[in-house]
Symmetry: C2
Subunit: 446 residues, 2 copies
């Protein structure tokens, strides 16, 4: 078994001199310290930042001010670059060193903290004064299908006779996604147009009528393997920098018409939203959980995907929620309504298994590559991670507090994902939000 | 109808002061002038080059020497960059200006040519003295399925009851591919490992036994459209910089087991080879052809994919060949053997239609994105563009001149694609070669 990575940064008694970080409800206590990239309104140049309470440690400014000098010039340069890719290239070990240094800088009881507090005006910025952008240049984006509940629910709708295909319990099913259309949380999403074929009518091109979200976890890859080399499952977690929330927006009517035989394409590639803060696997260490317990009769993973340690603690206990707020609800000043809640523990494959499978053919995984988990759905109806499942392909529409009904998303709907971890004896940490509002399709001629 | 783009650069009477460019058999006469990126052995920095006979115009050196000064500093900077992405960003019009300037520089009867010839030692380098690398940083790679003959042949093997799915004649079917594993011609390809399920046996992980090539044309995207904007079909060709040869290596046994329901994944992502020279659509202008004539009864393309001009001249008459040379043939000094020959004219969808469809949901297409056509197969058996089709999934193995039999590729096999255009009244132009040799799977424990 791998050694526990619990260290001084996880100590529940740590307090920060940033007061908002000590609030029990914050997603970003000093035990979290996720990485992101932000911009000031007045400046084009992006800065790497670390979230702390409702503030951000400006790593560019802090590195320039010498706060990370003890980590050496290579890490210092990476912290001053325009995206997290350089830090991703350096890998987990160096990222651990940065996180540990940031912890000392932000603690209320360290000499580094005392010095940093004195530089507060230079190295700390309020979240309300910056815009978060994508944390990395994403070379390749891959989306998996790792919830057996989601696969079974969706399969039942499209293939009632064979909901779960014979390969599912052996192959971590995935497909290549589109990297160019990955957007930061808060970016509006235009309703896409595409080909659909409603019933017996001939195919037509127009705005989708079945626009959906998919609640997912994203994993950013760090380090690299040469083309032709594989990543053994026992080393795979060292190639995952951290996790975020991910909304794999989907146009179900387009998907149904286009997906055979080569899989989803334009039904997905119009937009994918990620939350801005990458929560490191190190921060998630206190929230490890056993991998999903395969029911009796399910085959064990093949040897290349099998790691006893991974079965014992390869899961992460992340609570996930989907919230929706329609334009009418906003107009009435009504709050968003929760549509579902589930846990990342329900996934059939661990994040390590996804990465190992991806590289098992020798595919080179590069720093900044993004893996989507696939829709996180659990066994209960309340934990279904997309409208397709929640409304049974629109047959059982939801009723919102405003009285509106939703089979799929309407223009003006805002979808908000939340995710967090809590456990007795540990300080709660969170992912922040992954948010997107639907705007109407363009008025281009059809 | 769009104006003909035939201009002085296509004049069949043009001769170059590079003698090898005047050889009737060269792929790279002065009427071609494709773009690529090369490296000297002694230098890390890549140079943009333009092929001419068996020589290359070193655009970095030529720009530094002032040869492109008349085109202005923006184009000059792009020609001195490390890849073609900057030129792709500028777009077709600027690329036309570069090609026209290169034509004048390399002609034997212009003042520019006289000056350039005097600088020959500085601005010209022999192909035998350089290594070609990937022409661009490829952001996203998409592979289509645009040959109805390929789709029908393959469909018949996997779905005898429904070889061609109902969406095929409406939707230019495609899927997102893997960008990281795209490699330059000449790079060896390691036989991948993966999950397969032979017959009734349980699934197992090991080297593929059904390794195949796929003969394709690649198209490099230039310019950009914002996320949410579409590219009308009548403007689509202005977003295609040029074409290359592309080998979409495929592991058929892995593909058969993994592809449902989300499409091909690890069966493809271990390697994709592209030829190094990007032949511009401008150079291909004399070889335009009508789009594929849909048989009576086939539906016309939907309006967003319909352009009269595209039907009239959206095809390109490119002859394509696949050659193979086994290790035994190399040992005997035997030449490669031709396995198939076909034409890009047989494609059901034009390159313009592929790009327009791809952006029809608002997907942003970035400079350097690569579109694969899908396997180019024609109606005759001799024009089938992969072994899966040629050998009927291995049931009818080929016999090589060496006496060896091939159902699929063996270690040591070298696969060579060739492509060229010829037509009465025009000078023949070619694509060069797309070449890759199979090396054995790694010896990592299974």
């Amino acid at each position: 078994m791998r050694p526990s990575r619990l260290d001084a940064t996880h100590d529940p008694s740590l307090r920060s001199w940033i007061e908002s970080a000590n609030d029990a409800a914050t997603d970003f206590p000093i035990q979290n310290l996720p990485f992101g990239v932000f911009r000031h309104d007045f400046e084009e140049r992006p800065h790497i930042g670390i979230a702390i309470g409702d503030q951000v440690l400006d790593c560019l400014a802090a590195a320039r001010a010498g706060c990370f000098e003890s980590l050496g010039p290579v890490i210092g340069d990476a912290l001053q670059s325009w995206s997290l890719n350089a830090l991703f290239l350096l890998g987990r070990e160096d990222a651990r060193a940065v996180r540990a240094a940031a912890s000392r800088l932000l603690r209320s009881d360290t000499p580094e903290g005392t010095l940093a507090k004195a530089m507060r005006e230079t190295i700390i910025v309020g979240m309300d004064r910056i815009s978060m952008i994508l944390p990395a240049e994403i070379g390749d984006y891959t989306d998996f299908y790792a919830s057996i509940f989601h696969a079974t629910n969706v399969g039942r709708m499209f293939r009632p006779d064979a909901p779960l295909l014979p390969n599912y319990k052996y192959v971590p099913i995935g497909y290549h996604g589109r990297a160019s259309s990955i957007i930061a949380s808060g970016t509006t999403v235009r309703r896409p147009r595409g080909q659909t074929k409603p019933g017996e009518a001939p195919p037509a091109y127009g705005p989708t009528h079945h626009l959906d979200y998919e609640l997912e976890i994203g994993a950013f890859v760090c380090g690299e393997n040469a083309l032709g080399d594989t990543v053994p499952v026992e080393h795979a977690e060292e190639r995952i920098f951290g996790l975020c929330l991910l909304n794999d927006w989907s146009a179900r009517d387009m998907q149904a018409w286009e997906y055979a035989p080569l899989g989803p394409f334009l039904a997905k590639s119009f937009a994918t939203t990620v939350s801005p803060w990458v929560v490191t696997l190190d921060a998630l260490e206190p929230f490890r959980a056993p991998a999903f317990a395969r029911p009796d009769g399910d085959p064990p993973p093949l040897a290349y995907l099998m790691d006893e340690d991974d079965r014992a603690r390869g899961g992460f206990a992340i609570t996930l929620e989907v919230w929706l707020r329609s334009a009418a609800m906003r107009a009435e000043n009504a709050p968003a309504v929760r549509l579902s809640h589930g846990s990342f523990e329900s996934m059939y494959w661990t994040v390590a298994q996804l990465l190992t499978h991806h590289s098992s053919n020798g595919c080179n995984m590069r720093p900044g590559d993004l893996l989507g988990s696939g829709t996180v759905s659990g066994p209960e109806k309340a934990s279904r991670g997309c409208l397709l499942e929640l409304t049974m392909r629109g047959a059982e529409p939801l009723t919102l507090p405003s009285g509106e009904r939703r089979a799929f998303l309407a223009d003006g709907d805002e979808v908000i994902f939340k995710g967090w971890c809590e456990r007795k004896g540990a300080v709660r940490i969170g992912f922040g939000e992954c948010r997107g509002e639907i705007r109407a399709a363009s008025t281009a001629a059809e």
